[in-house]
Symmetry: C2
Subunit: 598 residues, 2 copies
C-alpha cells in the first residue's frame, strides 16, 4: 500500500519498481526500508515497533519546538502512524501508548486498521479486548471511521485528529481485509499470497473494469494527473510552512540561529576533555564516569535521553525536569519500566533527528530491547544504549539480574558497536568516537562495581578509540597476550604483573570494542596482536565462545559459562571463575602445552 | 516479603535464613529462585514475567481439568499472582493480560500492589493511565482493596476474587510503600536500601514497640504459634481436596487412571518412529517434518502448545479446536501476535506441569522472547521453542524477517539447547533426545526452504542425538573437516563431493546441537573431530565468531556477517556468501596456507 501511494503521488517509484517488488535490489523490498526508498520514514516489518517509534518521533518534535521555538508551534508537527491488529497486540506498542498518554502527546495520531483478521484466524479468540476502551484508559482520545470507503468521513476525521486536544489520538478505522474480493475479503487468506487470475478478474469486474483489463486501463495519465496533484498540494503546504518559518526566523533571530546551529551542527565533544578521570589506582565504577560524561554533554542539547526507571543506579540522571506535557523542554526522559518501548522510542527520536538519543537500564534487561536494538542497527541510527551492571559482579540481586550472555549476544547484532571500557580514561575516550559516529548504534557496557583507574599514557585514548590496544606491556618482551575488556582489564594487568615476577613476559590488550578493532587496518591489528604471538588468553566475565576467534586454538578463554548466583559481587565473580588464579593457570597452560582444539 | 511469609507460616525458612538474605548459598537469594527455596513457585525478578507466567499456569490448570476431570472442577485450581506497578508497565504483562481476558481465565487472580511508586519517582509522570479501566477493557473483573491494613476487607475481597465469574480478576490494593515509616513511607527511597537504625527505631515505636526492641520481642513462640496455624488450616484444606479427589477417582476410575498416567508418565516417543523421513535427495523443509512430529506426538497429551499467529507457516497446526473459555480442552493454543507473552506463558505451563509446552514463530522474532527464554533456561523448564524460517533463505520478506544473529545469540544463553537439524532424519532423531530431557529448554531451528534428505545409515539418529557426528566421509581419507548445521549440511556435503573430485578428502560433520556435542565425552568428540585434524571449515548461515572455537585458528568460518536483503532466498544466500564456491575456496585456503589468527 505504501509503495502504491509513493507511485501514485509521484514520490519517485515507477510501475517497474512496483512490478519488481520483493526482488533483489528493487526499490520495493518485502518490507519498507528507510534510506532505501524515498518516502519511507522507518524500516518496518516487526510488529509494534512502528507504534513505539512514532511515539518517539512525536516526543522529538515536541521537544525541539519547546527548546527552540516556544510561542510558535510550527516545529511541533503531527506524527501519523498506521497500525494493524497485530501491532496493537504487541507489548511494545502497549508500553509506548501508555507513556504517550502520560505525556499528553497530542501531536500523535495512530490510525488503526481495525479489520479483525490476523494470519491464523479472526481475532475473536485472541484479541476480544475493547481496544478503544484500552486506549481511553491510557489517556488517549478515540475517533472512529466506520466505513473505510467513505472518503468524506475519512477526511473529516483525520482533520479532527490533527487538532491539539492535550491527548494523543487513536483513529479506529473499520476495514475489510481483501475487500472487495468476494472470495478472500474478510478472511485470513487475504493477508498474503495472490488472489489468482480468476479472483483478480472478479475484483476488477466488481470495480467496473473488464475482468481482463490491461494495466494501462487501470493506470493512465488522467489517473496520474489526479493522484499526483497531491504533490502540488504538498508543495503549497510546504511553502506555507516555509513562510511561517521565515517569519519566525525574522521575529526570533536568536532562537532561529540556535535552532540552525542545532540542526546543522554536530555534537561538540569538547566537554569530554574536562571530565575528571582520576589517578591510577582510584576505584571508580565506569558507570560513574559515564554519568559525568552525560552531564557534561547535556549542554550540547544533541544528547537527549533518560532511563527505564533506573536513572539513579545507571548514573544517567541530569539536572532539570522530566519531559512532560507541561515541560516539553524537559531535560530528561522518564520511560517508566518499559525497556522495549524505550528502545523503540529512542529509534523514533533518532529518525526524527538530530539527536543522539540515549536510554539506560541494567545490561541484563537489554534482552527486553533486542527487537528494537536490531531494527536500530538495521536502520543505522545513532542511538546510545547505556547498560550498566554489566557482569555477575552485580552481586546480591542474583542470577536474574546478572548478565552472563548479554555481552556476547549483543556482539552478534550486525552494525551494533558493543563498547566495554576498562576504566575512566577509556570511558571518556570511547565517547569521542561515539559522538563522531552518528550512524552507528552503540551499546555502552559499564560496571556497577568500582574498578581501578589504570596507568595511561598519551596513546591510551587513541587506543581505546581504535577498539583494541596494548594497555600494559612487560618490560622484558612478549611471550603471551592477555586480551580483556571492561572490568577484566585490571585483572589481566594484575595477572601480567604476577607473571612478570615468574619471568613470563605478557602484554595486556584492552579491547573495549571488538567491532572497531575488527575494522582497524591490518597493520594496526597486527601491531597489537602479532600473528606470531599465538600464546593468548582472552578474559571476559561472560560467555566466551566468540573469543576463540581472538585467542586462537593455541589459546584459552577465561569466561563465565553458566548463570550466576546471589552473593557479593566479588564472591560471585570468583565462584564463576573470573579471578587471578584462573588467569594465571590459563596463561601457564597456554605457554606450556598449548590448548587443543576441542 | 515472600521469605517472611515462608518463615512465619512454617515453610522451612529460619531466622538464620532471613538474616543470611542475599548472601552466597543462602536459601534467601536476592530474588526468589524456584527449585532452590521451598514455597517459591517461580524464579522472579525481571518485571512482568510473573504476570504472564501466571496466565500460563491458569491455562494449564484449566486445560488439565478439562482433559481429565470434566464435571469436577477440583483440578481447576485458582492461580494467585502478585504484581507491582512496574510489572503492569511491562509489555509482556499487557500481552498476557489481554489474552487472559480473551480466554476468560476466571481461575486467575492478579493482585496489584498499587503504591504509585517506582525506583525513580512516583508514577504520575509515566504511568498516569487508568489501570482499572485498562483491565476492564481486556475483559477482566476489577476488585478493590482501599486500605491494605484492613484485614477483614482483604479477606472478603480475596474470597470474592476466587469466585468463578467467567473473567480473570484484578484486585487493586491501595498500599503505601515503606509504611509506616514517616521518613520513607510513600517515597521512592523505600524501594531499596536500609532505613537506618534511627528510622527503624521510629517505625518500631509507631508499632508499639521499644525503638531498641530486640528481635526476640518481635518474633516469639506466641507469634509463631499464631502465624503457623496457617499450616494447619492449609493441611485441613488439602485434606478436603484430597477427599474430593478420592471421591472423583472412585466415581471416575477410567478418567482417574488416565490422569494418573498423564501425571506420572513420560512423553511416549514411539510415534516418532512412524514419521516418514523420505528418501535421500527428496526436497523437504525441516519445518515440514517437524510439523509431522508435532501431529504424531499430539496423542501423548504431554505436548501442548501453539503459535504466535504463525501456526500455518511454522507448521505446528494440529487438528482440533483452539483452547478457549468454551473449549478448555482445546488441542492447541492461539497466542495472538504476542511472542513475548507466549514464551512466558509456556514457562507457566511448564512450571505447572507436566506438559512439554511448545510455541512457534519465525526465528527472527525470538528476539521478542529473550527475557522469557532466559528465565526458562535459568529455571530448567522443558519448553520447546519452534523457530522456523531460520536464515536469510527466508528471502523476499527482507532483512527484518531474516535471522542473521539469532542462531549465535541463542547459543549464548546458558542451559538452552539450540538444535538445528540438517534434514528430516535429524529432525525426528533430535526429538527423541528432546523428549528425554524434560528439564532443558530447547530452541528448535528449522528451515523455511526445502533441503534435501541426506544419505543416512544406522548411526545417523544416534549421531544427531549426540549433537555432532560424521554425516559424510570421503572414501579416501580425511584431509579436512567441514562442520555445518541445518540447511548448510547439504551444502557441505556438496562441497566435500566436489573436493573429492579434486583429490581432497573431506569429512562433513553435522552439528545439530553444539551444546549436546560439547557435553559428549572427549573420546567421542575426538572421534568426530580429531585434534590432529586442524584443517577445518565451519559453515553456518549466521554470525560466525563463535565457530572459531571449533574451526580453530588454522580454520575458516563461512558465515553471514551482515543483515540480509529482500530477494529470493537462494539469491540472498549467495549474495551473503553461503554458496558452494565460498566453501570450496575456504577449504582450499585452509589446506594451502592455514588461516592466521586475526
Amino acid at each position: 500500500m505504501l509503495y502504491l501511494q509513493l507511485y501514485f503521488t509521484g514520490y519517485g517509484l515507477t510501475l517497474e519498481d512496483l512490478a519488481a517488488s520483493r526482488s533483489l535490489k528493487s526499490k520495493t523490498p518485502g518490507h519498507p526500508e528507510v534510506h532505501h526508498t524515498v518516502g519511507v520514514e522507518m524500516s518496518t516489518g516487526p510488529l509494534g515497533q512502528g507504534v513505539a517509534s512514532a511515539v518517539g518521533m512525536a516526543m522529538a518534535a515536541r521537544h525541539e519546538a519547546a527548546l527552540f521555538a516556544a510561542g510558535s508551534d510550527h516545529l511541533d508537527h503531527t506524527v501519523w502512524a498506521l497500525a494493524g491488529d497485530g501491532c496493537l497486540q504487541e507489548g511494545v506498542s502497549s508500553e509506548a501508548s501508555s507513556l504517550a498518554g502520560s505525556l499528553g502527546l497530542d501531536n500523535l495520531v495512530l490510525i488503526w486498521d481495525d479489520n479483525g483478521i490476523t494470519i491464523d484466524a479472526d481475532t475473536s479468540g485472541t484479541f476480544s479486548e475493547d481496544v478503544r476502551a484500552r486506549y481511553r484508559a491510557y489517556g488517549w482520545r478515540v475517533l472512529e471511521i466506520d466505513d473505510a470507503t467513505d472518503l468524506a468521513a475519512i477526511e473529516a476525521v483525520l482533520r479532527a485528529a490533527a487538532e491539539r486536544t492535550g491527548q494523543p489520538t487513536l483513529v479506529a478505522v473499520k476495514t475489510v481485509i481483501g475487500a472487495p474480493s468476494a472470495k478472500f475479503g474478510g478472511t485470513p487468506a487475504a493477508h498474503s499470497g495472490g488472489f489468482g487470475k480468476e479472483e483478480v478478474g472478479a475484483v476488477l469486474e466488481s470495480l467496473g473494469y473488464s475482468p481482463t483489463a490491461e494495466l494501462s486501463e487501470l493506470v493512465n495519465d488522467e489517473i496520474l494527473a489526479h493522484t499526483r496533484a497531491a504533490s502540488e498540494r504538498g508543495a503549497a503546504l510546504h511553502a506555507d510552512w516555509q513562510r511561517e518559518h521565515s517569519a519566525w526566523e525574522a521575529e526570533q533571530p536568536e532562537a532561529a540561529a540556535r535552532w540552525n546551529a542545532f540542526r546543522d551542527g554536530a555534537t561538540d565533544p569538547s566537554p569530554l576533555e574536562a571530565i575528571a578521570t582520576g589517578s591510577p589506582g582510584d576505584p571508580v565504577a565506569t558507570r560513574k564516569t559515564n554519568g559525568a560524561v552525560i552531564k557534561a554533554l547535556q549542554e550540547s542539547l544533541r544528547l537527549w535521553g533518560g532511563s527505564a526507571d533506573l536513572s539513579g543506579s545507571t548514573n544517567v540522571a541530569v539536572d532539570g525536569k522530566p519531559f512532560s506535557a507541561g515541560d516539553p523542554g524537559g531535560e530528561f526522559i522518564r520511560f517508566g519500566i518499559r525497556e522495549h518501548a524505550m528502545a523503540a522510542i529512542l529509534s523514533g527520536i533518532a529518525l526524527h533527528g538530530p539527536w543522539r538519543p540515549f536510554g539506560s537500564t541494567y545490561l541484563v534487561f537489554s534482552d527486553y530491547m533486542r527487537p528494537s536494538i536490531r531494527l536500530a542497527a538495521l536502520m543505522g541510527l545513532g542511538v546510545i544504549y547505556v547498560f550498566t551492571h554489566d557482569s555477575v559482579a552485580v552481586g546480591e540481586d542474583g542470577p536474574t539480574h546478572q548478565p552472563v550472555e548479554q555481552i556476547a549476544s549483543l556482539r552478534t547484532v550486525p552494525g551494533l558497536d558493543v563498547v566495554r571500557p576498562a576504566d575512566a580514561v577509556e570511558v571518556t575516550a570511547v565517547w569521542q568516537r561515539i559522538l563522531a559516529s552518528p550512524q552507528r548504534p552503540v551499546a555502552l557496557l559499564l560496571s556497577r562495581q568500582d574498578v581501578p583507574v589504570l596507568e595511561s599514557d598519551g596513546d591510551t585514548a587513541d587506543g581505546a578509540r581504535a577498539g583494541g590496544f596494548v594497555r600494559w606491556q612487560s618490560g622484558v618482551g612478549t611471550d603471551l597476550a592477555l586480551i580483556a575488556t571492561g572490568s577484566e582489564v585490571s585483572l589481566a594487568i594484575e595477572a601480567a604483573q604476577a607473571l612478570e615476577a615468574e619471568g613470563i613476559a605478557a602484554r595486556v590488550v584492552s579491547m573495549p570494542c571488538v567491532e572497531w578493532f575488527s575494522e582497524a587496518d591490518r597493520d594496526y591489528r597486527e601491531s597489537v596482536l602479532p600473528p606470531s604471538l599465538t600464546a593468548r588468553v582472552a578474559i571476559e566475565a561472560g560467555r566466551g565462545d566468540a573469543w576463540y576467534r581472538w585467542a586462537g586454538s593455541s589459546g584459552e578463554v577465561v569466561s563465565i559459562e553458566e548463570f550466576g548466583e546471589s552473593g557479593s559481587g566479588a564472591e560471585v565473580m570468583r565462584l564463576r571463575g573470573i579471578h587471578l588464579d584462573a588467569v594465571l593457570d590459563a596463561a601457564r597452560r597456554v605457554l606450556r602445552t598449548g590448548h587443543p582444539v576441542p
